[in-house]
Amino acid sequence: MNNPFEHRRPTELEDKAHAEAVRHFAEHLKQFPASREAVERLERDADKIALAANRAATKPTPKENVIQADDGKQWHKSVDLMEDIHFCHRPISYGAEYAVVEHFPAHGTNEILNRGWNAGEVLKAFTQGLRQTLQVWTEDMTAQVKEFLSEKFPGQDLSRIADAFIHKCTTQAVSKKHELTHDHEQNHSRGIRI
């Protein structure tokens, strides 16, 4: 989506409406870019992650990295993808099976999200799901912003503001403060274990 204010400056009302929307949806503006960047990072590192998982599948796994998933089988954690989401493998007689497994700490359960025989394909299916999630989020955010503006400024055409807000949210970089926090989390949760 292009910035709708590239060719015509916003009116005073549009400026006010935009400021109100930014204030009201501040949490979306903070969380969406961080989630988008996490997905982009996984997509960018997909080859490295798949390679690390392939290598891990040829070596013995430390006991603490073996988990039981909801299929009743034992899986070996090889790469941490996101918080509580791991890329895993399971040795079989003729190679390895791969899976993305989500851990639910409250219940101690491990749910398989994607599985298959090709590490790259499994990872791709997982990141495609995340992309679809971002799409659902964008559509919902658009509907929420439009509703907010029509209730706050009845009878006004503020469609440019809704478009500008979504453009800002879906394209802006993560704020420095949030990025630092995120990097800190990454140091703890994203080491590639081989």
């Binding site: 949490e27 989630s35 639910f104 679809q132 999630t133 659902v136 989020w137 919902d140 509703e147 029509s150």
Partner: protein, 70 residues
């Protein structure tokens, strides 16, 4: 002069239980971030409904079902 007997102050009636919540409210109640709620929706673990203008709402029954099964 007769005094009018004072009626006892009635306690505030309990507000009716909400039928559905916004994504933000659902995330707050579950103690997770927005992305996690949208992921639950995308994976079919939470079935949302749409309000008139198209925004997603999470029915209370869906939240209770999720908490009972997860």
């Amino acid at each position: 002069m007769e005094t009018i007997p004072q009626t006892e102050a009635q306690p505030n009636p309990t507000p009716p239980e909400r039928l559905a919540y916004s994504i933000q409210e659902a995330a707050d109640m579950l103690g997770v971030n927005y992305f996690s709620v949208y992921r639950l929706i995308q994976r079919g673990k939470l079935k949302p409904c749409r309000a008139l203008r198209g925004k997603l709402l999470v029915p209370r029954t869906e939240l209770l079902k999720l908490l009972a099964t997860e």
